[in-house]
């Protein structure tokens, strides 16, 4: 008997970075047949042409509803089953919704073979979300940095303070007003622009 071939996996995701992260993870885990679809037009025709065993789609994608059409009897040759149909594993369903990914299993792929794919998806989606979060935080920290530097400059000029003194003044004001230093700095910059 021939060995079970690696299942064909399709990733439907408009985010190329997230799809790449997921695709790489799947390949590392030994799943060779991975295809990424980023173009949503004629989505069903594209999927039928690839004839996958597993379809992975992110939950931010409105085209999830398009996939639901595959459940209809007419025309489709092989009918998929949504991961959610199997209610025995509520923990992994919850985890996948939290991570923002959904899986559709086409044909008779066994549960033991689907589980590692799904687990990998969940961890990669979570990793991507964390990355994005960090990127956002770094961006806003950088913005803060710039605005604090400008506010310090204004205080130094107007009040004849050293850089350290200007920073201490900003920080103590922020603490007293129960605001972030960035917010206080922003109001100083705004005020000085108004008074120019």
């Amino acid at each position: 008997m021939a060995a079970d071939p690696s299942p064909k996996i399709v990733i439907v995701d408009e985010s190329p970075i997230r799809a790449a992260i997921l695709e790489e993870g799947l390949r590392e885990a030994g799943f060779a047949g991975v295809t990424h679809i980023s173009e949503m037009h004629n989505l069903l025709a594209r999927i039928y042409a690839l004839d996958p065993d597993v379809i992975l789609i992110d939950l931010e994608n409105p085209s999830r509803d398009v996939l639901e059409q595959m459940f209809q009897v007419s025309r489709a040759v092989r009918r998929p089953i949504a991961m959610f149909v199997d209610q025995s594993d509520t923990a992994s369903i919850q985890a996948s919704v939290d991570a923002g990914v959904s899986a559709y299993i086409v044909g008779g792929l066994k549960k033991e073979r689907v589980k590692p794919i799904l687990d990998l998806c969940i961890s990669r989606f979570n990793a991507f979300a964390k990355l994005q979060d960090e990127l956002e935080r770094t961006k806003s920290a950088l913005e803060d940095r710039k605005i604090i530097d400008r506010a310090k400059g204004i205080l130094m000029k107007l009040k004849g303070l050293t850089e350290d003194e200007a920073y201490v003044l900003l920080r103590s004001t922020a603490m007293r007003e129960k605001k972030k230093i960035g917010e206080i700095a922003q109001s100083i910059v705004t005020a000085s622009e108004l008074l120019k």
């Binding site: 939950l59 509803d65 059409q69 459940f71 209809q72 009897v73 007419s74 959610f84 509520t90 959904s102």
Partner: protein, 390 residues
């Protein structure tokens, strides 16, 4: 004092108005509820998040609530609908080319759905003769009123929706682009997407679905059946908040305020002016500026539309049977009807409850026999074009 926290999912459509107004106008808070509205991008997401308990309640397509309760194509999770969020509200929009083709073949009144359906069947026949690609119709979900309304209409004119044309699911925000790019020739969708297609000059509104069915349950406020049992008081408060919201929406003087609330980017997020037209049932139907008015275009709150009517659920189940999505059986019919819960509505509102739809056939379809939910085999036998499960 903080209220009882509830997470409610919705799709950005005008018929989510009751939900949005209940929250943004403070009717929910007045009932002791602290509601977080979560805007979603697909009906699949709304259904799944309701099913697994991430949402306490949801703005849901009435047929999805029934399909979920029957376990059709998906997980079986019993859902109950104690409040109708809206009746009707969909329209069929066709591309300028298909509009011209239908008008070229039409005999009779262009607002008569039988006349347009017969004209469509002649267009379809002519295309087949010239080996043209079959026409493609977009709709929003396999278990949707849009799907059933399109099918009911074209089949009455002799067009088989599975053999003669293509039916494809498209997310509502993609409808207009798909029509403009020729990916679909027509679509059936709720407000505001038809108006947007007309405003951009990409489509003509051929029919309000109220031409096809005088009165059709569209979206419902849906909760899990077991949640409803465990949270009877909270559910009653939620129904009352919606009743107040609908009372506000139905007043003509409040239309501008309602349109402004819905226009907010985190709500429906389309221009208030388009929403106002929808609420008024006064729609531009053609890029040349032709207008059409119908008080039945979208029924929110008027005529006791909010009270669920199990006969509407029976009709939707009959469509699932007709088109091969469900098997016909007395138990399934009973389960489908039990999704619509006028008893919960009445209990929450007491003396304030509306009487609901009266008359022997509230659907009022333009073709076929009057609907009799007690004898589906006879009713369904009247339709020649059908796709029954074995």
């Amino acid at each position: 004092m903080t209220g009882h926290p509830l997470r409610i999912g919705f799709i950005p459509l005008v018929d989510a108005a009751a939900l949005i107004v209940a929250v943004d106008k403070g009717f929910a808070a007045a009932e002791g509820l602290d509601v977080t509205l979560v805007r979603e991008v697909s009906w699949s997401n709304v259904r799944d998040k309701l099913n697994i308990g991430l949402f306490d309640a949801a703005h849901l397509l009435a047929p999805v609530a029934i399909a979920s309760s029957l376990g059709l194509g998906h997980v079986k999770v019993p859902i109950v609908a104690p409040f109708n969020l809206g009746l009707n509200g969909n329209a069929i929009t066709v591309s300028p080319a298909l509009h011209a083709a239908i008008m070229g073949e039409i005999e009779g009144d262009r607002f008569d759905p039988m006349a347009t359906a017969l004209a469509l069947s002649r267009v379809v026949a002519a295309r087949r003769k010239s080996y043209a690609e079959p026409l493609t119709f977009g709709m929003t979900f396999p278990f949707s009123t849009h799907n059933y309304q399109l099918r009911f209409w074209m089949a009455a004119g002799g067009v088989d929706p599975d053999e003669d044309v293509r039916m494809v699911v498209l997310p509502p925000p993609y409808m207009v682009d798909s029509l403009a790019s020729g990916h679909v020739d027509a679509f059936c969708v709720g407000a505001p997407w038809n108006s947007i297609a007309v405003d951009l000059g990409k489509g003509h509104i051929l029919h309000f679905v109220s031409d096809i069915l005088v009165c059709a349950a569209e979206k419902v406020l849906a909760v899990r059946s077991n949640w409803a049992e465990k949270n009877a008081e909270v559910l009653a408060a939620l129904i009352r908040a919606h009743h107040r919201a609908v009372g506000f929406i139905k007043h003509r003087d409040n239309r501008a305020a309602v349109a402004d609330m819905l226009a907010q980017p985190q709500r429906v997020g389309v221009p208030a002016e388009i929403i106002q037209r929808t609420l008024a049932g006064w729609l531009k139907i053609s890029p040349d500026g032709a207008m059409r008015e119908s008080s039945r275009y979208l029924v929110l709150g008027r005529d006791d539309a909010e009270r669920p009517d199990p006969r509407q659920a029976a009709w939707l189940y009959a469509q699932m049977v007709r088109w091969g999505q469900a098997s016909l059986g007395p138990d399934a019919l009973k389960a489908a009807k039990a999704v619509f819960r006028p008893d919960l509505y009445d209990a929450a509102l007491g003396g304030e409850a509306g009487a609901g739809q009266t008359g022997s056939d509230p659907l009022g379809a333009f073709a076929g026999p009057a609907f009799d939910g007690n004898d589906l085999p006879t009713y369904l036998a009247a339709f020649k074009i059908a796709r029954r499960l074995p």
